[in-house]
């Protein structure tokens, strides 16, 4: 639990000034009313013109066209501006990497082939990452921090984190952990299992069968009285909620036939499947819709960049949506997870309804990831992840004017903005090294 204590005597600016590089010491929660805005609630109230959102104790207290304001409230006039829930990236490495090419700073994958399903990103998340402020000042408030496959088809467990930085207690930023198990099939899966798709499917089947056997014979296993398994005890334990259909299994897969194979595998083991990538998803859209399997997409993925994505098209999101598939967006990036709204805008340019594009970064991932009771729409009682935009949030020239995460107003600064400010006047009397925020 984050502290909900308010320090009304402390001005936000004071706290901002005290920020270190990745300073996440955001202003404490206070009661705030955002008024006069166009509010896309993404919930049952739809879009409200000239509306008000009241944030109190980290939660949304009220939303509507006409909302009585509490006595002591900081009012933010947002006339002409747009309010949405904080944005969500369904596949990111934020918190797991500082510089991709600097191995020491990268924890998204492991080269240790003894650890597969048990690999858990929650143990490595860095809430003080410099990437967090860079992304949240652009409206991103929550991401799935996902592992990448290293030497195994099963990459491990990802977590949902918020971008509010470190809280008052260890792990405050963990919204849901584990959020899912991640694995790859298709070309990547084949490459990790002897070079053939057949092997990769067999290996996953074997892992699930071993887990089921382990569940039924745990005591015998502990006593050394069971056939050897292909996975370690920790990996088997991590897979238990997957084979029980409790923890989602995210499978990265692109070719239409690989999607079909994955759907069959999920049906065979009663898995709670989520597809990621799905470049050729539109070719098998009806099957995906019938299986009620959600799909995580990067809408900009339109290159026939491999033999498993020859059918890639910018119309993939629109075609999947039209077929009734549940879609959410992912960046697959870390530094520029913030560009997820550019992805969404392009999906609209290529046929996806605007509301569906915004939902694919808010309400829909909230449902897919099982956190809809707390996040995803602007409704009373939910966590106050709220962004005020100076224009259409899907438009690349728009920018947030304020970002709240769990009710706390975030400082609109970052290491990259400090670099900007240091070098914006090259004729300043003292050299850059003396210029500090």
């Amino acid at each position: 639990m984050r502290s909900r204590m308010a320090f009304p005597f402390m001005k936000t600016a004071t706290l901002i000034a005290g920020l270190a590089l990745a300073g996440a010491t955001a202003a404490r929660s206070e009661t705030v009313a955002i008024t006069g805005a166009t509010i896309h609630t993404m919930g049952p109230q739809g879009t409200i013109q000239n509306g008000t959102v009241v944030i109190e104790n980290g939660k949304i207290r009220a939303v509507g066209a006409s909302v009585p304001l509490p006595a002591s409230v900081r009012r933010i006039d947002a006339h002409g501006q747009v309010v949405t829930p904080g944005l969500f990236d369904s596949y990111s490495q934020i918190g797991l990497v500082e510089v991709n090419a600097v191995d020491e700073s990268e924890d998204a994958h492991s080269q240790d082939d003894r650890i597969t399903a048990a690999f858990d990103v929650a143990d490595a998340i860095n809430p003080r990452s410099i990437l967090i402020p860079v992304n949240r000042v652009e409206g991103l408030t929550r991401v799935v921090a996902a592992p990448n496959p290293g030497k195994s088809l099963i990459a491990g467990q990802g977590a949902i984190i918020d971008l509010g930085g470190p809280g008052d207690h260890p792990g405050d930023y963990l919204v849901r952990s584990p959020a899912a198990m991640f694995a790859v099939l298709g070309e990547a899966g084949a490459g990790l299992s002897g070079g053939a798709r057949e092997n990769s499917l067999l290996r996953l089947r074997e892992a699930f069968q071993d887990t089921l056997d382990y569940i039924a014979n745990r005591k015998a296993f502990e006593q050394g009285d069971r056939r050897p398994y292909t996975l370690s005890r920790l990996d088997l334990q991590a897979l238990i909620p997957v084979v029980k259909g409790e923890l989602p299994l995210v499978v990265g897969v692109n070719r239409a036939s690989d999607i079909e194979s994955t759907l069959r595998l999920a049906k065979e083991f009663h898995l709670k499947l989520i597809l990621a990538g799905a470049a050729e998803g539109w070719m098998v859209a009806r099957q995906i819709a019938e299986a009620k399997v959600p799909v995580l997409l990067n809408p900009l993925n339109n290159l026939p960049g491999s033999f498993e994505s020859l059918g890639a098209t910018l119309e993939n999101p629109a075609r999947l949506y039209k077929a009734g598939v549940t879609i959410a967006f992912m960046s697959g990036d870390a530094h520029n997870s913030r560009n997820i709204r550019q992805e969404a805008g392009n999906a609209v340019a290529y046929g996806l309804p605007w509301d569906a594009a915004l939902a694919a970064m808010t309400a829909v991932p909230a449902r897919i990831w099982g956190i809809a009771a707390r996040y995803g729409t602007l409704e009373p009682g939910k966590d106050a992840d709220v962004v005020i935009w100076d224009g259409d949030p899907l438009e690349i020239t728009s920018f947030p004017t304020a970002v709240f995460i769990r009710g706390r107003r975030m400082p609109m600064t970052s290491r990259q903005l400090e670099l900007r400010d240091r070098y914006k006047d090259l004729k300043a009397p003292l050299p850059p090294v003396y210029r500090k925020p």
């Binding site: 596949y91 500082e98 510089v99 991709n100 090419a101 600097v102 990437l131 996902a146 496959p149 790859v184 099939l185 070309e187 990547a188 995210v250 990265g252 897969v253 692109n254 990621a276 990538g277 799905a278 539109w282 070719m283 997409l297 990067n298 993925n301 339109n302 290159l303 026939p304 491999s306 033999f307 994505s309 020859l310 059918g311 910018l314 075609r319 039209k322 077929a323 992912m330 960046s331 697959g332 990036d333 870390a334 530094h335 520029n336 805008g345 392009n346 609209v348 340019a349 899907l394 438009e395 690349i396 020239t397 920018f399 990259q416 670099l419 900007r420 070098y423 914006k424 090259l426 850059p432």
Partner: protein, 505 residues
């Protein structure tokens, strides 16, 4: 960017530095045999004007021993047939500084014939109603690897980095370009890209020569080659060369090793150039003289020293760019453009004073150590200092959205209080990259006499929702969003999608 983004198994972008060293600038230098005939044939130059791609006077040009091959490797590009076209009533960004509301653009004989508030349609002209549309010059990508890193990205198509020696100035990107790369049609249809400089990768100190092409896939690269465009020489600073060769236990393994490598090569090139000059002098004086042995690597470097080949220098950090400027001073050449130039904003004044273009991404940062200080305001701060700003892609995805990348850069500048407008930002995508690759006399702006490379956008090109409706190359309709007969499909793409699936759902 060959070292840049690739799709992961999840279909998301990831930086896979391990596999492909970053690609960056290209090589330049018009070799004697290639450039001269093209420049002459293109007819783009005014009399007496010395185009940057003019034949070299040094070893590269006028050398008797090379005259045998003079017609080889030249452009055989022919524009598509066209008729006069008048676009009316559109918002026109000329990239010459103007923004014309309800303006017209007339294309005739493959050239821009007139631009203005009201232009009369000549007899027989097709009139395109541009109501609600925006018209810009064709987009120019100064940093592309299409064709040399084609899709699908398999080992067999990875032809962009001759990563076998830190100096491969002797290789030419045009000898790797696969015209059937399906990424060419995407750049045209999604991005409105009409011209691009295709560069070798950035594994080496000297990567080789670039080639500039018109975005109309032909049967061979010479059917695409931009008539009269100068070559570039791709050079690379920083992490890539030292990683690639340090990893092989050879030089360079440090940044100082990089610099020693450049200087050593320029010393040899200087001697090669003077040897040829001496030979020429003797020959013309009627003295007995044997021509020096021809050396492809030194020929390219000598082309830079004689000003015929443009240096396209992949370089991220401010301190390294400053060093590279010093190396250019030592050997008397000019850096035409720093590519990627993540920290260009830190030395914007120096780049402006030296007339060096900064060819940059809008917002890539952090994927490697030398990219850590990338900021969204790079373009805006360069513009503020009066430097030449180019938004480039280095990416087969990014090249399809250069307009959006420029929009982000423009918006970032305006957030810090600047007043950047569409008529400013369009220059970052058209006339400035044209300058950066040496074709600004021929294309890059909507001005009478220039190549009629034109995009009609469905709306403001700096909106995420806008798309190219029509793209003209040399006055001919190369792409039409609503006319399948004007949409490209490479050989590779034939038969790979089931037409029944195409219409699903």
């Amino acid at each position: 960017m060959t070292e840049t983004l690739r799709r992961t198994a999840f279909g998301a972008l990831a930086l896979l530095l391990a596999f492909t060293p970053l690609a960056c600038a290209s090589s330049s230098a018009v070799s004697p045999q290639a450039a001269a005939p093209e420049a002459a044939r293109s007819g783009e130059m005014k009399k007496g004007e010395k185009p940057s791609q003019a034949p070299a006077t040094g070893p590269a040009s006028g050398v008797e021993s090379r005259r045998a091959g003079e017609s080889a490797y030249t452009s055989t590009y022919q524009p598509l047939p066209s008729q006069p076209v008048l676009i009316t009533n559109a918002t026109v960004l000329t990239a010459a500084g103007e923004r014309i509301e309800r303006g017209s653009v007339l294309m005739q004989g493959g050239k821009i014939a007139a631009v203005g508030q009201s232009v009369a349609a000549p007899a027989g002209a097709a009139v395109v109603d541009g109501s609600g549309k925006w018209v810009t010059p064709g987009i120019i990508d100064a940093h592309s690897h299409l064709g040399v890193y084609a899709s699908p990205g398999v080992e067999a198509t990875a032809d962009g980095n001759e990563a076998t020696d830190p100096d491969t100035a002797q290789v030419w990107a045009e000898h790797s370009v696969w015209p059937q790369d399906p990424q060419f049609p995407l750049a045209l249809a999604t991005g409105g890209v009409t011209t691009m400089q295709i560069l070798p990768g950035s594994a080496n100190l000297f990567g080789g020569r670039s080639v500039t092409v018109k975005n109309l896939p032909g049967r061979g690269v010479y059917e695409m080659k931009f008539p009269g465009a100068p070559y570039g020489l791709k050079m690379a600073c920083g992490e890539n060369p030292k990683r690639v060769y340090g990893g092989k236990g050879r030089a360079p393994s440090t940044r100082m090793g990089n610099v020693a490598g450049y200087r050593d090569a320029w010393i040899k090139a200087s001697k090669y150039r003077s040897d040829w000059a001496e030979y020429e002098r003797k020959r013309q004086a009627g003295e007995d003289a044997d021509p020096p042995d021809r050396d492809l690597q030194l020929e390219t470097l000598a082309g830079v020293l004689s000003g015929d080949i443009l240096v396209q220098n992949h370089c991220y950090r401010a301190d390294e760019m400053l060093t590279m400027i010093d190396i250019a001073k030592e050997f008397g050449y000019k850096v035409t453009a720093f590519h990627h130039a993540i920290e260009a904003y830190k030395i914007a004044d120096v780049l402006a004073a030296n007339g060096i273009c900064a060819d940059i991404w809008a917002d890539w940062w952090g994927f490697k150590m030398e990219a850590l200080d990338g900021i969204r305001e790079n373009a805006a701060l360069l513009q503020k200092a009066g430097a030449c700003v180019v938004i480039h892609s280095d990416s087969a995805e990014g090249t399809q959205r250069l307009n959006q990348e420029a929009a982000k850069s423009m918006a970032a500048g305006n957030r810090m209080g600047m007043n950047l407008r569409e008529e400013d930002a369009i220059r970052w995508l058209t006339i400035n990259p044209a300058k950066s690759i040496g074709v600004d006399k021929q294309t890059g702006s909507l001005e009478p006499g220039k190549m009629a490379d034109v995009v009609v956008w469905s709306g403001n090109p700096f909106s995420v929702y806008s798309r190219p409706d029509k793209v003209y190359i040399d006055g001919a309709l190369a792409y039409d969003r609503n006319d399948p007969s004007r949409q490209l499909k490479t050989d590779f793409e034939l038969g790979i999608r089931d037409s029944r699936e195409e219409v699903q759902p």
